[in-house]
């Protein structure tokens, strides 16, 4: 199996699906010759020409709307939204239109499109280029939400997304584009709604998507040194969410920490933690711990930015306390 970067994995997924299906096209800002600022789509325009790799003006609501209309009438657009923070600009087209059209038409119309965007702080890009906004789209019925955590997931989930008949939002981690992983040479797709158990353990379940999967894995290594055996789960998609894999794990370990790079308040850790607390209630030895990003706009200054996001050390620390029974809130 060759080792490739997440960026290459995304590029391959797009190229393979575009070769297979003529109705797939890519649309966004500077996706053609420039290959996006992250160089993720470099080279595609040479193979598929500007007919199918379409550079747009800086009109996010506009090209998102175009993608919805194209998808409703027989195309399968992949929209490239340069920064996840620009989601706020396309929310109407995404949430009022794309997400609802299948339902509002009683199942007669559908909107097979993929919105590729990204998340993640600590690139010193400040408050408007660093947000992790997956919780917002996960709240809207009619949207699927995929969160790849490595090149392997990125390719497999994106291919599934492109073939899905519904709008799918896929968040790549900006800091991970150059990270390598082994990716099969033969064709593969990863199913939505199927979590991966990346490491088995008995003492505590660590749950994290995207960037936070690595944080959980590193925390598990740190915990190993203390003789604590952590299980690490990556749900891979938030919608649909693989509740049963998570619950099965927590029923075995009796403890869980849910880690996320989105803001903690009203974010995804709340959903996952509350499902565990409800549905594995009698199995829990301690409260489920939530670790989201701080509830502050992302600051520019590195000394501040770095403390807003959960770290492996932070997770390990909480896990130790959890296992030691020290995380009980005052009576």
């Amino acid at each position: 199996m060759p080792e490739i970067t997440l960026s290459q994995a995304v590029n391959q997924a797009i190229a393979e699906e575009m070769r297979r299906d003529e109705t797939v096209f890519l649309i966004g800002e500077d996706v053609a010759e420039a290959g996006t600022p992250f160089k993720v789509t470099s080279g595609l325009v040479e193979e598929f020409s500007t007919d199918r790799i379409i550079d747009t003006p800086i009109s996010e609501p506009g090209f998102m709307g175009l993608a919805v209309g194209a998808a409703m009438t027989g195309s399968r657009p992949i929209v490239d939204l340069m920064f996840g923070d620009f989601l706020f600009l396309v929310m109407d087209q995404l949430c009022n239109q794309a997400a609802k059209i299948h339902y509002m038409s009683g199942g007669k119309l559908n909107v097979p499109l993929v919105l590729r965007t990204n998340l993640g702080a600590t690139r010193r890009s400040a408050a408007q280029h660093s947000q992790s906004l997956h919780a917002l789209v996960a709240h809207i019925p009619g949207l699927k939400v995929a969160m790849p955590s490595s090149a392997y997931e990125a390719k497999g989930l994106l291919k599934t997304a492109i073939r899905d008949d519904n709008p799918v939002v896929i968040f790549e981690d900006k800091l991970m584009y150059q990270d390598k992983a082994f990716v099969p040479e033969e064709e593969y797709r990863l199913p939505f709604g199927k979590a991966a158990i990346l490491r088995e353990g008995t003492d505590v379940t660590l749950i994290g998507t995207s960037s936070m999967r690595q944080v959980c894995e590193k925390a598990a290594l740190l915990l190993e040194q203390d003789g604590i055996n952590a299980e690490v789960i990556d749900p891979r998609t938030l919608v649909p969410l693989d509740e049963s894999t998570i619950l099965d794990s927590v029923k075995r370990t009796s403890r869980a920490i849910v880690v996320d790079e989105g803001h903690q308040n009203f974010g995804t850790t709340a959903e996952i933690a509350s499902r565990i607390s409800e549905k594995a209630f009698y199995f829990l030895d301690a409260p489920v711990v939530r670790m989201g990003a701080m509830d502050v706009p992302i600051p520019f200054s590195p000394v501040l930015e770095d403390i807003t996001v959960p770290t492996a050390e932070g997770v390990a620390d909480k896990a130790r306390k959890l296992v030691a029974g020290e995380l009980i809130h005052a009576l």
Binding site: G62, L66, V68, Q97, M104, S105, D165
Partner: protein, 313 residues
């Protein structure tokens, strides 16, 4: 075109009555008075051509070929409606005739229409998409974003601005600076104005532009001067604070699109009074039959509530 316009008028009369009789859930926006716009344009389209519609969408839907029964069922939330009762008046869509749907977000369908045209171009299909919207919708920034792309990429889309003088309770000159047609022209889009009460004029212009657009000469922009007879929605009864009774009477009496066409047909000797009356009566009885059908039709089974959130497969 006379029949089509009559069907819209009669549909709206019935819808209004259903509302007054409290038989229709929610409220709805009447197209009466604007029939020549939808009919003049849609008669220039093939069944494979697409349209996007608005909150005031019954006229577009009907003109693009929909039938009374499924439309009334949709308005009443019945399972035999175009959207199985899930969309209602503001989301009525009829994909078999290329109606991509009404939209309850003002301006919300402008991206959809332009995207449909992009798809046509990419797939080398020769269909044209018409985007209907009101004068009020010209205040939505989305319009300028998509007109820019349509112009850059020469997309087969026609923007049809139904200027009925008002958006809700506000007259157009209070909310639109400069000139609407100039706004399209500034993006390099050819733009035309036409009397929206004259279905023949509308149809002539539309036919010409549709064929041009089909040959890759699009996009185009049309402003259609028209008037809505009813209030903004069925509940908007006291309107004198924003428009005068005289103005309403003037349009209804002297600029009614159905009468204008009727007079033309009679003058040209194409039809006489009796024929037109009969035609109208026929449409009426079709409509009443459909209303009865819809009233007696079933609501969706409650198990449908969580169907169609996602398309399976």
């Amino acid at each position: 075109m006379y029949t089509q316009m009559a069907k819209i008028r009669v549909f709206e009369d019935n819808a209004n009555q259903l509302y007054l009789d409290a038989k229709m859930p929610g409220l709805t926006h009447m197209y009466s008075g604007e029939e020549a716009v939808a009919v003049g344009i849609c008669e220039a389209l093939k069944v494979t051509d697409k349209i996007t519609s608005t909150h005031r969408g019954h006229g577009h839907c009907m003109a693009k070929g929909a039938d009374f029964r499924q439309m009334f069922c949709e308005l009443l939330g019945k399972v035999n409606g175009y959207c199985r009762g899930k969309g209602g008046s503001m989301h009525i869509a009829d994909q078999t005739n290329g109606n991509l749907g009404a939209n309850a977000i003002v301006g919300g369908s402008m991206g959809i229409a332009t995207g449909s045209a992009l798809r046509a171009k990419l797939q080398k299909s020769d269909d044209v998409t018409v985007c209907f919207f009101g004068d009020g919708a010209t205040a939505q920034g989305l319009m300028y974003e998509v007109m820019n792309m349509a112009a850059l990429w020469k997309l087969p889309v026609i923007y049809a601005c139904e200027n009925n003088g008002y958006s809700e309770y506000t007259s157009t000159d209070e909310i639109a600076a400069g000139e609407i047609l100039e706004r399209a022209r500034a993006f390099g889009i050819e733009a035309f104005s036409v009397d929206g009460q004259d279905v023949i004029a509308v149809n002539r212009l539309a036919s010409e532009l549709v064929e041009k657009a089909r040959k890759g000469k699009g996009p185009f922009f049309i402003e259609l001067m028209t008037y809505r007879y009813h209030g903004h929605h069925v509940g908007d009864i006291n309107r004198t604070y924003y428009r005068s009774k005289e103005e309403e009477t003037e349009w209804k009496k002297n600029r009614d699109p159905i009468e204008i066409l009727g007079t033309f047909l009679k003058t040209e000797g194409i039809a006489n009074d009796d024929e037109l009356r009969e035609l109208y009566l026929k449409v009426r009885s079709e409509a009443s039959e459909a209303v009865d059908y819809a009233i007696n039709a079933d609501y969706p089974d409650i198990s449908e509530v969580d169907m169609h959130v996602f398309q399976e497969g």
